[in-house]
Symmetry: D2
Amino acid sequence: MNNKISDCEMLSAGLHEECGVFGMYDLSGKDVASSVYYGLFALQHRGQESCGITVSDTKGPKRKVSTHKDMGLVHEVFTKETLEQMKGNIGVGHVRYSTAGASVRENAQPLILNYVKGTLGLVHNGNLINANELRHDLEYTGTIFQTTIDSEVIAYHIARERLNTDRVEDAVLRACRKLKGAYSLIVMSPRKLIGARDPFGFKPLCIGKRDHAYIITSETCALETIDAEFVRDVLSGEVVTISKDGTIHSDTSLCISQEKEARCIFEYIYFARPDSYIDGVSVYASRIRAGQFLAMDSYVEADLVVGVPESGNAAALGYAMQSGIPYGNAFVKNGYVGRTFIKPKQSNRESAVRVKLNVLKEAVNGKRIIILNP
Amino acid sequence: MNNKISDCEMLSAGLHEECGVFGMYDLSGKDVASSVYYGLFALQHRGQESCGITVSDTKGPKRKVSTHKDMGLVHEVFTKETLEQMKGNIGVGHVRYSTAGASVRENAQPLILNYVKGTLGLVHNGNLINANELRHDLEYTGTIFQTTIDSEVIAYHIARERLNTDRVEDAVLRACRKLKGAYSLIVMSPRKLIGARDPFGFKPLCIGKRDHAYIITSETCALETIDAEFVRDVLSGEVVTISKDGTIHSDTSLCISQEKEARCIFEYIYFARPDSYIDGVSVYASRIRAGQFLAMDSYVEADLVVGVPESGNAAALGYAMQSGIPYGNAFVKNGYVGRTFIKPKQSNRESAVRVKLNVLKEAVNGKRIIILNP
Amino acid sequence: MNNKISDCEMLSAGLHEECGVFGMYDLSGKDVASSVYYGLFALQHRGQESCGITVSDTKGPKRKVSTHKDMGLVHEVFTKETLEQMKGNIGVGHVRYSTAGASVRENAQPLILNYVKGTLGLVHNGNLINANELRHDLEYTGTIFQTTIDSEVIAYHIARERLNTDRVEDAVLRACRKLKGAYSLIVMSPRKLIGARDPFGFKPLCIGKRDHAYIITSETCALETIDAEFVRDVLSGEVVTISKDGTIHSDTSLCISQEKEARCIFEYIYFARPDSYIDGVSVYASRIRAGQFLAMDSYVEADLVVGVPESGNAAALGYAMQSGIPYGNAFVKNGYVGRTFIKPKQSNRESAVRVKLNVLKEAVNGKRIIILNP
Amino acid sequence: MNNKISDCEMLSAGLHEECGVFGMYDLSGKDVASSVYYGLFALQHRGQESCGITVSDTKGPKRKVSTHKDMGLVHEVFTKETLEQMKGNIGVGHVRYSTAGASVRENAQPLILNYVKGTLGLVHNGNLINANELRHDLEYTGTIFQTTIDSEVIAYHIARERLNTDRVEDAVLRACRKLKGAYSLIVMSPRKLIGARDPFGFKPLCIGKRDHAYIITSETCALETIDAEFVRDVLSGEVVTISKDGTIHSDTSLCISQEKEARCIFEYIYFARPDSYIDGVSVYASRIRAGQFLAMDSYVEADLVVGVPESGNAAALGYAMQSGIPYGNAFVKNGYVGRTFIKPKQSNRESAVRVKLNVLKEAVNGKRIIILNP
């Protein structure tokens, strides 16, 4: 890999896609669907376009794989009945962000593959910069695609490599060697749950535990929501494998020197939830710090420091702390604005309709105000 | 009226019901349905159970009255198609709060009455303490009810009085004389828009204007959303009538001495939106003040002052200002928790699932914290 | 009543409206909602626009009245959950035909009234010719209407009369005296189920029984569907009252001489289901007879007699029997054409799209064919 | 191919699946989505579980492929808006029957493949007897499946062969050589529409034409519905290719001697619509003939011959013609019984609820009746 060239590309690769992934494996055999559901719910801020869950059973000879995925928010796509019908002690889930591209149901994840070694489920957060090359390579050797998402390219590489390897985690590793760009992915094989994070570590991925169940997911807030404890972050470049004996096997052969690692800065300042910790750093604290640094760097006199809700508030608080300028609120957010909010035709006069964010005139009138908008 | 006795009753009367009302009359003849929709959207925090809009035309001999109402949020109940089919330059709308009682579609407002003088539309926010007596009086003289809501009692009294009066606003006034309790109501007659507020002024009601259109509504934030200017509050006990010539006729014969007036304090501390002004007082400023008073009254030493979002934040800010204790955030709210959030069966271990409000451990660890929860 | 004049009007009165009504009273206290549902399902051909069910309990001091009604077919409007929540041993149901007029949810039946004597539920099939006069009379004495349907006029008259009578059935009788036109109606009072049919007997109404339950309904096919036995038809002009002791009280004071009676001929040839019996006459047999009479009256030479499905088939069979010309099929009906069938824009060439009824060329090519289309 | 052994298997192969396929290619460039929709609507009797349409454009360098498919009836799955957004002059559609197996959205057709030569759309009616072997062969050479339907096996074989052939129709032919069992399939390539029928000709497939558009579909009734003229049946074993110049290229290298051909007899007696012609034989006439033969073979004395609607009626008519026993109707079908008809819990007494088919007692009482139920 020519890092000189690809570093820039790499950095930009992480920005296009924001998704949330969640995998869970209950070694004692309990159903995981409802926990995956809660986990996705906590990750909803990472993707509102589509979502899905796949579960299966690691026990018995006849595994049944159940998948439910659709366009919509987590609580819209899943009903109590749907979740209760999804039986199995291993599962993966995904929430997807609405990018400009093809927003169709076929592109929703998890992606499920049936091949000679059984069934694989895969969820992916990130953006490959060599996806087109990899896709073409596969196509010219006869591979057929049914979606337009990068995840299918990754999955097909894993399935191919699996034919030449003894263990599915080795196939994941071999496939990862070919990927360039940002990826945090979770693979569910018939009896293993595998997590992999790109060598730069662009996108977050962490491990949690609750009783006899292990979890791999994008953010620690998803662990808290299901009352699981945080075990550790997946390392940049690491492939972790959770097997039925409860061991977490780690392969670090893709890791690069720590100085070369890179983070998607938008995770800290915008994407992630403030109560999450990424690679040991509190998102909330990092936003406070960012505000403090800004105040040191670029102090201006003002009467009030305010943030644009919600992600700007912590930075504003940091700026206020550092500068001594009072912190305040300047905006009211209408919490009922949803994806389905309709916009009937209006006369020109009404084009300025402000339904989402209103200014608190009382708070701002006659004041010099610093606004932090991430 | 025996105020000695009824004052207490009165105060409690206002608390049971929280609804939002919006009426609009465009003198130049433009359709108002989409503006009523936006207005209700801004009032959504006042009621999430059901909503509805009625529009009609003040011009021409053949008035058609269109009503659409159902259980659900404003953006769920109305589609672009529905709104575009609702033609008319006068209209009223309503959002209703889910009380413990009968939550059925028949109880949704506006209430529409057809009687000898034409059609009346009525929306109502409040709670009568003599509703049962009034209902019985009507029943014993042959009146038949189709719902169980107070608004029907008010509407039938208006319609009855209308037979003995020349003007519909006089019928409204006569009906109001019989009502005890909290009410802010808007009546849409074939050619007039009438607003009435109870003599104590428990519930807010204000007047706005945009070009040739007049608006009567619960909160000023609804005026801002449609870019209308605030004209004035409806007085406690006042009946205002907007006619086709654009005059606002005021009848204050029900007004009582200002010292006797009473406000529903929950409007300021909980119900209303912080960017609204009620009777000239900023809701946001009143919350700041409440926090300041609390700090003066009940100062305790602490490291941080936090509010329970969203309504507690302003009070916490006030407490922080007054006390000098730093203001901070301690909670992350999952903005995707909706009415339809399902709760699948969980193992006991998971009963503590925290989907709505998560604590920002980073912000609170090891600190003495004052929490303001309205 | 001036019969000379009104007879003509009367005859036309019956044609405008086609609805289905079903009432049930289980004296042993069992829930009736699911039987009412099945009954309405059997009457679906009488109205596809809207439907509704109201049930209540005749026992105990605290009666709860549950109503569910909406636009749509019976199986669309009701879910298993809805039906299971509707508790009560007395109930009425209605299916409504889509007439040209106001097709809105507010006009769906049953109509529920709350008045001093309790709650009344009413369902109605027919068309009054003096509805406007009756409505005006009520309006000028202060009555307020919430719908535009005749049923509300009838219900309000019943409620008014109830204040001056000891028994609800007498109020129904007094109200019926004022009605001119076609009506078959069922009234559900707190402890009685009452059926009334206009003196001419335009619209069908019959009585059935299953175990300890009594049924009043439009057609006998609804009795068969719930495995109830036919007891007898309600007489023209009769008011029947089913009380908790299981007696069927009959009041025939509105009956006129049998020669003056009239039937809505469309019931026999078009509206009713062929397996129903109306006033002792099989609808199927009457259609066969009609075809036979036609063959006697208007014989023409032909190779084949066919009916336009479904209601034309029996008449064609009768014509074939009488004439000796073979009976056959000439049309294939697409059973999936529903109310929701969409019609996207087409080029002119496709304007002839035949989605509903296709001709069986094989059956008709080169043949002289008699088509019976009711 | 060992026909001795496989013939039996072959015969049974055709029975498991009943689907409908429709393909259209407008050479003049007009959109075909609405015609495909009407075609599927006419084929709805062949499958009520799921349906789907894929369209694309044969012109210009940038082809966009639009697919919409879901569980449900044609008029439920497609809205006017959906159809209007589906632009393209070539398309395929499918209706699927609910078999006992996996009834999930992922199995709905058309199946869309992206591979090195572009995009293929495929719809399939039939049942392969060597699907498992073919699937295994592909899996062991690295192929990955995303569904469990035979169509995916066929499609992957076509895509594989395409890498070694110059023309897509040759790839279809090569793939067909490997298939054993019943198949009528339509393949949509970037610039061609290809139809293929198995050598035995189990399942119907025919060609139609309207102006500059060619159609390949399961039954002639779909041609009539869109006002297209019948051109000819696809031969057993034939692969037909419609290209942009309007030629229909035929490859018959898979055809076997006509005596060996076999038909799925259920098409004539049950599956197909009576107004369709299969291989030159009227389905309606074949049912009449079947009834006539039955009367010759197995005459019994009776008063009436009746059919179980709808498919039994024609046979009953044939029996009546031949035997001289009068034909009649004995059943009334409730046309509103749909897939969504709910069945609430009933008391035992009601277990006999007859909602779908009622007996015409008037027609059958006291009579000896011959019932023909296919």
